[in-house]
Symmetry: D2
Subunit: 275 residues, 4 copies
């Protein structure tokens, strides 16, 4: 058995010592351990992967006795369960499907919801339930509630927006705090909003990018998990930029998923600390 221990609290002297003491006295094998202090906000972040038998409640209580104010989470290592949302583009979704299929991404895909129907065939090739939930003629909240009815009972670890081209309202977002990961097809905060490739083309940039972030209530403004870029030039149309950008989108998204399912990401002050 392996467990990931995540601790977040106000920084003060001796935190590593006190936490290490608990771990040492429990005779755990510590596979990896990192800590980080955000000096600007005086916050301490700690992550360890522990091998052995762990009584989660007992361990948590022992840590809280040493470090009272801490926010302590202990995750048993297991295959994380993802629910995917998409619209009509296949690249980000397809990359996750292939990676799950080949084992490069150690997850279970519970299902895929899309507001278009064209990805049904692809998803079902992989024996994954596909739910076509069109948005036409529905309010945002009605559409979201239809999705929530399917998603909520499955209790996913993360919801992945694999080019889901609709804005989610607080009605949906607040159900899954720091559990919804979106891939935005630009190097945020550049080109917020619609058609960032067209915006990038019009602005004449020499590099385009993609950004994976947690979704919060401010559109395109959630905590950034991962970004990457690729070079473009004056010879390219915005449609060519879009095709080239898709490779970056899918890779940035799958890197972000990897960090999330390994329980490596802390969120604080609208930023991510990745240990």
């Amino acid at each position: 058995m392996k467990y990931t221990l995540l601790i977040q609290c106000d920084d003060k002297k001796g935190l590593v010592y006190k936490i290490s003491k608990v771990l040492f006295e429990n005779d755990f094998n510590i596979e990896t351990q990192q800590e980080f202090v955000d000096k600007e906000n005086n916050k301490f972040f700690f992550r360890a992967v522990i091998a052995g038998e762990v009584d989660k409640e007992k361990l948590k209580n022992e840590i809280l006795k040493e470090v009272p104010c801490a926010d302590v989470e202990i995750f048993k290592k297991r295959k994380k369960r993802l629910f995917l949302l998409a619209t009509k583009e296949a690249h980000a979704l397809g990359d996750i499907l292939i990676k799950q299929y080949s084992g490069d991404l150690d997850v279970e895909i519970i299902g895929v919801i899309a507001n278009r129907n064209n990805l049904k065939d692809l998803v079902e090739k992989f024996n994954i339930p596909f739910y076509y939930i069109p948005a036409e003629g529905k309010s945002r909240v009605e559409h979201e509630n239809e999705m929530l009815e399917i998603i909520k009972p499955t209790n996913p670890d993360f919801i992945i927006l694999a080019k889901f081209m609709r804005i989610l309202t607080p009605n949906f977002v607040e159900e899954f705090p720091n559990k919804i990961i979106n891939i935005h097809h630009s190097f945020l905060p550049a080109f917020i909003g619609a058609n960032p490739y067209k915006q990038a083309y019009d602005r004449g940039v020499k590099i385009i990018g993609a950004t994976a972030h947690f979704v919060n209530n401010n559109l395109d403004d959630g905590p950034i998990i991962e970004q990457d870029v690729t070079r473009v030039n004056h010879e390219m149309s915005w449609e060519e930029m879009r095709v080239q950008g898709r490779d970056i989108e899918k890779i940035v998204l799958s890197r972000a998923i990897k960090k999330a399912i390994e329980d490596r990401i802390f969120v604080y002050a609208n930023k991510t600390i990745i240990l």
Copy 2:
């Protein structure tokens, strides 16, 4: 109709003028045109995409009349036909399958040959013929001849080695000059040979990469089409480098395929000129 015109010849004065004259007098619409002079080797390379009705023989003869020594090729623009070879890894193959499926790569996949059987299920999901041709108990040439019997009648435009982990002999290679594209899982010429990720790990490099190249008779020494890299660090095992490297491999390979199917690549002096 669109046609790609590729011309290669010794450089001399007036080549662009003479070729442009033929194109102008034929009243073609030239969509794009590039030329390059390799001064070291005194070689001229020219590529144009022409829209309209083209009598290929007539055009070729007119160009040869103006530019006698030239090597002139004219390709009608059409969906290129690829034959894929693989072994057991799904990432490069899967990326091509998804891109073909979604239309991001405008090709027909004739079939997939593999010397392991595990990719059969994936390939057949996409309704593409899969041929399992194990190599055990056969000489290299025997194994190749079994593959050639399947491939040759299909007359593919390109043969893509999507992590085909066997060395091809001249017996196979010489059937398809500058038509076999391999993805090598290192930043060539570093880490030639077996298990480059292990080699990279052992050497302690801070960046790993992948190289797409045409296959010739010298292992890992064919003309390089495309390369890219990704950063690694001391925390990573070589297996983790391999997983991270796969994203680079598949992207580098698909970029190389894209250039090949668009008839953009000249090969000269064991290098590629990409117009």
Copy 3:
């Protein structure tokens, strides 16, 4: 003698043919030639480097006879003359000084103006005139006019803002259209305005960048010449991002200068076409 020929005009059939004809009939040696068609705007761009004796007026007239509407420029190849503006940071300025000193940048530096005095010692080490022109107590236009009095008589080819931290008004900018190159310390259009490193830190981006652009009347909105990026992480303060970013800034700026002094840059529709 070498000459660079730049032609820009509305696209139509036969432009390359007609221009090539003039060059061929004049028996020029063409060292390099590129052309680009912006299909969205139906614009044709042509650049050639010609070796030999060129009568610029005659050549221009011959081209205009064949291609009447064209905007034709012919530059004799010579060491370009730069005037540099700075404030107090040494990195971008110092990089240009070292590159000019070593010959990696083939330019003459006419002089340096700064609105702080601390770079005087560095500049004078390289025997380049330094002008300290403080801005305190002056209107923008007064300050600019003091600078213009020094710069204008020297007739520079380009004015390089090597971290000149003041906004230039149309009063200054319009004297040097597409001749003022600025380095902005962010990946534009992200983080326009003051202290982009602090903005990047606050937003929690994972990559920072720099942008070289021509200066026009809209702050940070001129045509982009070159961009590049570098990876950052949660461990870095914004001051550390700034130090790391400086290497990107100086390299992006010197790449842009190199393209400018080689007469490779066309400006159209607030974008650059670099041939």
Copy 4:
């Protein structure tokens, strides 16, 4: 006062706890702390920056009492002293000079030795002693001994080979184990040996790079500290690759120097662990 504590030892349970205990009981302020376990070699690496008054001998003894086998080093934070070796290229040397001048690199430059004389003027602009020690007519060891006579009495923290184009023998290298940092103008292990840019050009690579490494007795085979790359294409001559590569060389070198002077680098099994 700040101190950097570096500990290296065989991995076993409780190391972080035991070290943290010593630091806690001494009531130190720990500014930053990282640890890494090399599982392949079962080695533990620890780095902490401590603020406060530290009795180095006492602290070392207390740690050794808890962790007997450890290799413990404690460095008082101070401006590190560098001796630079060069040949005739100005870019890497110039970048260090400018960074030292501007404060972006917090070092003292003791002196510069070169086996050519052309950099004398540049170095002396910055009031740094320049020693011209030609190699002609001397054996390697004689030449090295002349350099050692100058360098050894100055007791430098690091010796920086800023494009010093001569091979150092064990006679020199063994005087400064893991203290000599070289910049190699290729992406090692590709293109070992002479003129890597020409080699890269001849091989037709699409990306070139640079590698900073500690110098050991095997040419170009020392532990790699930092690498980076830049894209090239078929249009570039090898001389153009060299000029473009110089920006990468100098940046990679200065990043490596930064890590070295901050006492962040462990060397083990011919690799670097950078905390």
